[in-house]
Symmetry: C2
Subunit: 278 residues, 2 copies
């Protein structure tokens, strides 16, 4: 029997700019009676990393550019928020009423460049994503390893809306020390068939698993520790960037373009098999 | 401290058409020394459900229609496989070299209508998705509840490629007994701010968590039991269909349409704030 355990650490204090998040997490494992061991994965919600890195912005201090005013008019968003989204983005992929989907400065395709109000203190304060979540993850990892002497993997996570499916799930936006994939390609299945496409994004699955003990409301459980996941392997080389698929490789690219021309398949009048007339 | 445990049940025999999968799973919990309890979630990989429901097709028995030949020419796929994909689909959203993305008969947007070769016995045999995965889940649930006297939730899962992100993750394609979402909308965050969009697709996150003990290769672990997930609630009303987002509500709809017109944001020449000239 395979067993994976996911622990949600309770009691993290409210995080302030400059806080030593690694040290707080290690203390938290002690008060939660969890021992960090080699191979553990620590999943940390983006919001507490952003707070520790002073990535919280008071909207009143933002001066919207002309472009931001234009976007605000187009989307109905606050121009100051539109300005923040602009600053955090490489390019805008879609703007419509209340919706801004961008490729952000980190290469993530997300809504509002990941800028979010929830669990941020101050009525007009918003959290931006960490500037470089991979670097944040690497920094947290080396601090935690120094404090504990254990070899761990770190995932920084955020919740995402998806195409085609309702609701949000937690995905990795930064990582350190682990390989984000478990690659079945080239290996055999139960019957010796060599698999050609299976390539599991376990970093995203680990983030999902963590969310099931975290919660995003006032539960205040932004850190989870995962022990015993299948397919996890250490790697010093991988970064979140590996999870970003280029436009060229994205099978879903342009799916809506043809979508509008797509016809429902008529299952009633069956096509004749080719050659049936011969 | 919150704790979730995920168990991968080992030793399931190869499934044949007509097998009583519920009974086999309950026996398996015993041989794995796991007790099924009220509130447990049992995640079952689609492939074993398809096998038990006799949804495996030998390609040589398929007679391709003219439409299938046309699609085969367009995509480079085997015309018999193209015919199966056609039969399983409501409409084709995208066809290109080696790629067919469809809205399948169940309303799922997926590649090749979910038809897959791996872990299926027989060199030219492919598994189709269960005809009605919600019904399969309901059936499995009532059998397992009858056998154990415990109130459980069932998720039937399959792995999915995603837009924008590399690699596949496991998502729910059928469910019974559980609510697929944990809805934060209208509840307060740490600072009393009322959350407006957070609406977590926990059924998908549970499927992801299960995959971390399952594996898709010759490990042969297609069933996982999850104990202690946060936000899980019983519901007799929900179906997989709730996870399918309508085109109208899908924020990512048409993202590629504007995509091609999207311009990189020039961060070097800063826009002047509006009114700066006055």
């Amino acid at each position: 029997m395979k067993k994976m355990s996911v622990f949600g650490l309770e009691g993290l204090p409210l995080i302030k700019p400059g806080d030593d998040l690694a040290d707080l997490i290690v203390s938290l494992t002690k008060s939660n009676d969890i021992e960090i061991k080699d191979g553990d994965i620590i999943v940390i919600a983006q919001k507490v990393v952003s707070k520790a890195e002073n990535r919280v912005v008071q909207l009143d201090e933002v001066n919207p550019s002309e472009k931001a005013w234009r976007i605000a008019a187009e989307t109905g968003k606050n121009p100051k928020l539109a300005e923040l989204i602009l600053r955090e983005s490489k390019r805008f992929l879609k703007t419509s009423q209340q919706t801004i989907i961008v490729e952000d400065q980190r290469g993530i395709v997300n809504i509002n460049a990941g800028i979010d109000k929830s669990n941020v203190k101050g009525i007009r304060c918003y959290a931006l994503l960490p500037k470089n979540p991979d670097e944040s993850a690497r920094h947290l990892r080396s601090r935690i390893m120094a404090l504990t002497g254990r070899r761990v993997g770190i995932i920084i996570s955020d919740t995402y809306s998806r195409a085609f499916r309702r609701g949000q799930v937690n995905f990795a936006i930064g990582l350190a020390g682990i390989a984000p994939f478990f690659d079945y390609r080239g290996s055999e299945d139960l019957f010796g068939y060599v698999m050609q496409v299976k390539f599991t994004a376990i970093a995203d699955e680990l983030a999902c698993a963590a969310e099931l003990v975290m919660g995003q409301g006032k539960e205040g459980v932004p850190v989870a520790i995962i022990k015993g996941s299948h397919g996890m392997s250490f790697s010093e080389e991988h970064t979140f960037k590996d999870l970003v698929i280029g436009e060229k490789d994205d099978l879903f690219r342009d799916v809506w373009r043809s979508h509008h021309d797509s016809k429902h398949i008529n299952h009633k009048t069956k096509d004749k098999p080719k050659g049936a007339n011969h």
